[in-house]
Symmetry: C2
Subunit: 201 residues, 2 copies
DNA sequence: GGCAGTCGATTGACTGGTCAGTCAAACGCC
DNA sequence: GGCGTTTGACTGACCAGTCAATCGACTGCC
């Protein structure tokens, strides 16, 4: 019978990796940095993970699956499309608010890294776009959004706008206080929907 | 009197570097790959450039300064803000159309690479945001754009939307034919301005 | 014309340092 | 004393950057 160890080393290493990746970047850091940050021996990282890459993959998948689930759940709700997009934007921004380091790592090292993890995780990333595209397409069918805009493009545009905001926080280009989060979220949804909604005049 | 050599080795190496960086990524490629692609000896790269990094910096600065000049020039024109943004979007999309490899490299390795070149070139990147923000701010003063939106955020959002499109082409998520370029450009400007323009109802 | 000398362009073998991943030994809980 | 956990020194591969040697275009001198 396997017993739970008093401390979850695996978790400890993953959490340390987030901090190290956020601080130095995946490629610039050494595995020994992660071990040091976690306060464990170098070799232990390889006891719990097959490779340095696998640590990153684990972090990404863990968080991204939450996003995918959230998009799916939001889509099922019986609310207007604007509120659906608002909920999705809110989820992503809250993810950043809750754990900026992890989101920074995911954005910088995966979703925006076309040459490394972005390539390997493309199917999962695309699944998020597709989920958003579905919300837009449904809104178009219902006559709520103008239907002369490709839902695929609209979804990338919507997600891209949010990611750009997070990047601006990551880069420190705009202040990252509570107020800023709320205003940014409102602005993205307001303007995106403003551009997408069918004019009623 | 210095004479121009029959072949511009420096240019030859830069052009080869673009192809190699686009194909393999900056970090994944070796300097010898660049030399091979250019058809010159390894050491010659170091005759013309101080380091591998400097090759990348050169490529970025060369192209980015054109963008900065274009934004400035567009801003001076006496045309409505929507057309200004349309011209900026057009310039960026045309840059991609004209030299997809170079734009891919710049986006993937610089503007979206928060941990490497993105950090070192942040001032230049920010200058582009500022230029766009100025267009938005002026439009707000003139009452053409709604003024409850922070121009800084709006500029990031606008640039981010375009970059997201380019990324989608880079990743092969959407077709990259002439028709697609035109529709995408129209959509970005249409929806962004749709969201930003003061409602007249 | 032929020859020696100069100097920047060009070559590619080599060096030094870095780091992911291995492994055999030590630990400590049962 | 057995077994999963933990340790950290070590290895092997990789690669940016160096450098001494070679090339070859051109000059000036006889």
């Amino acid at each position: 019978m396997a017993k739970a160890p008093p401390v979850d080393r695996r978790r400890q290493i993953l959490d340390a990796a987030v901090r190290v990746f956020a601080r130095q970047g995946f490629h610039a850091c050494r595995v020994s940095d992660i071990a040091d940050e976690a306060g464990v021996a170098y070799g232990l990282v390889y006891h719990y993970f097959k490779s340095k890459d696998q640590v990153m993959n684990e972090l990404f998948t863990e968080r991204w699956s939450l996003l995918l689930a959230a998009i799916e759940e939001v889509d099922k709700r019986d609310i207007p499309p604007r509120e659906k997009l608002d909920a999705v934007a809110g989820f992503i921004i809250d993810s950043y608010r809750h754990d900026p380091d992890l989101m920074k790592v995911i954005i910088v090292e995966v979703t925006r890294a076309a040459n490394s993890f972005g390539r390997t995780h493309m199917p999962e990333i695309k699944r998020a776009y597709d989920g958003i595209a579905k919300i837009v397409a449904d809104a178009q069918s219902a006559g709520e959004f103008r239907d002369d805009i490709d839902p695929e493009l609209a979804s990338m545009w919507f997600y891209g706008a949010i990611e750009q905001l997070l990047s601006a926080w990551v880069f420190g280009l705009i202040p990252a206080d509570e107020d800023s989060f709320e205003r940014a979220r409102a602005m993205v949804v307001e303007t995106v929907c403003g551009g997408l909604e069918a004019r009623r005049d």
